[in-house]
């Protein structure tokens, strides 16, 4: 089984690659080849027991998507994207990569499908986002709530979802789109993304560092761990297409908690001294942005189809300690 991962140099791409190497198989079929792609050449882990090709290109440029799928990978994980803030600042770039690039990738797959008279029809796992929803929305967003993005990134992801569903309906590919929750605890350095604090206030105190909380404790949001997110991708890659039906895009399960509940979970796991490293410093700009974000979802379709997230924020913290801190707190 040949697997193509775009956006393979990113945090989720690297974790997905590592997990596939650890498992050696996907859906009961042995992995035999991997193509890792990104705008910069992804690092190839040591001692992979099958051929790995690491390539760098801008897949939205003419010919690049065709080149990427010319070897007809069996499964395509399309993780590459211009992120929300950048897509909002750089309108043309966001549309070129997140809309035209996605369309070009699907077209390149369709060309292989037509050339093979339909024999080639890969599973395409498309990472969408809860940014396809924009306020106002119900307290818990259900499976049939309409897409009303309030960012260009959310618009581009919503278009990708529509294309994925139509190309699947026409039999050109076999797509599953998954809307990831905010990933928490995101490893690495604190970043300046508006959503960064959700992870910062857990990761930094656990590492002995101070973290800034720019919003009030009653802000509620929707989270899943990096491990759960990789699990969503693997499940989406192996799910029986017929069981999904024509509605190919799904909000993934997650944990809905307030910032206050996040902090109390941290206290239970790591104690008062760790929690004391969180410094309150309200930032009206971040408060305003976060105010328009989803708080909770009713993801019954995804749950019925077997997708699983953590069951509590405490579990999300424990996953972080296991996967990033070697099981112990500093």
């Amino acid at each position: 089984m040949h697997i193509l991962i775009t956006g393979a140099a990113g945090m989720i791409g690297r974790k997905l690659t590592a997990r596939l190497i650890a498992d050696g198989s996907l859906g009961g079929k042995a992995v035999s080849r991997m193509t890792l792609h990104d705008i910069v050449t992804p690092e190839v882990p040591a001692d992979v027991p099958w051929p790995v090709e690491a390539t760098a290109s801008d897949f939205s440029l003419p010919g690049e998507a065709e080149s990427l799928v010319s070897a007809r990978p069996d499964v395509v994980f399309h993780l590459a994207a211009i992120v929300s803030g950048e897509a909002e600042q750089e309108f043309d770039k966001g549309y070129r990569i997140n809309l035209d690039g996605v369309w070009k990738l699907f077209e390149a797959i369709r060309a292989q499908n037509l050339a093979s008279e339909g024999a080639y029809k890969p599973r395409v796992v498309f990472t969408s986002s809860i940014a396809v929803f924009g306020a106002p929305f119900p307290e818990a967003i259900g499976d049939e709530f309409f897409r009303t993005p309030l960012t260009s990134y959310g618009t581009q992801k919503a278009v990708g979802e529509l294309l994925l569903a139509d190309y699947t309906r026409k039999g050109f590919l076999d797509g599953v789109g998954i809307r990831l929750p905010t990933i928490c605890v995101r490893p690495g350095k604190p970043n300046k993304a508006a959503s960064g604090f959700f992870s910062n206030i857990i990761r930094e105190p656990l590492a002995g560092q101070e973290a800034v909380l720019p919003v009030s404790e009653d802000v509620r949001h929707w989270h899943a761990s990096p491990r759960a997110s990789v699990g969503f991708l693997l499940h989406a890659a192996t799910l029986d297409g017929a069981s999904i039906g024509p509605r190919r895009n799904l909000s993934m399960p997650g944990v809905s908690v307030t910032v206050g509940e996040q902090i109390e979970a941290l206290r239970r796991v790591a104690g008062d001294a760790v929690v004391a490293r969180i410094r309150r410093e309200p930032d009206p700009a971040i408060v305003a942005i976060v105010d328009g974000w989803p708080r909770n979802f009713d993801t019954r379709r995804a749950v019925e189809l077997g997708f699983r997230a953590e069951s509590s924020f405490e579990e999300i913290i424990r996953v972080h300690i296991e996967d990033e801190l070697g099981g112990t707190i500093a």
Copy 2:
């Protein structure tokens, strides 16, 4: 005020043109110039009291959209589209005109907006379709139901809606998207569109001709007259943008009736002898297609914003008799 109409050679385009000429103004502002565009040169009505340019081109080809908006029309009615059946048969053509062409048009407007430092920001009225919805759906589709198109045409229209909303949000244009009901009674010859019978069974008997009814009388569907549809377009062109908010795409009001109710309305308006010209000839293919179509809508947002359709199917028939038959039945 300079008005551009794409798809001006079509049935609605011609009626919209005639109405604007009869009114002489739009939203209280005098019309001073008109550009009528289609893939074939639209006919220019006689004695129009302002300059009219009639042009033919494929606006999806490089440079054509730019050329169309280079004179900076104040209002753009974008009616041009590849229709549902053709978009399903000719995948590339449908995507080229209905998705890439729409995008190119919005991009051309954006280029003028940027060149004018934001001073040029035309109202763009985009005709979408109830084909953005696909079964299963609730008995009446509300304003917040999600788009699940089951045709490429519906997918392309849903993408156009998303682009319209994002380009509006960013201030590049001032868009309003309207999802027209099935237009009934459609004038002209019987056509082979799957929806043709809804109009055929009214128009043909009224003209002394036999009509074929291919589905059962309990099929329910959603209708508005050509006159009401032109009214939607004019209202969408003049509506205060601030009152609409960021959700720029609206299902238009209409009349939900069963085929049996259509026939009883025809009997009340025109008598038994006219109704006797309807011949039942079930067509399983058409039955299957129509089974996946919307039956009813709850369009409270559009109604609150002042959009008005007919209040009964009888009124739809009377509008047809007034507008197409000179007020009398053959």
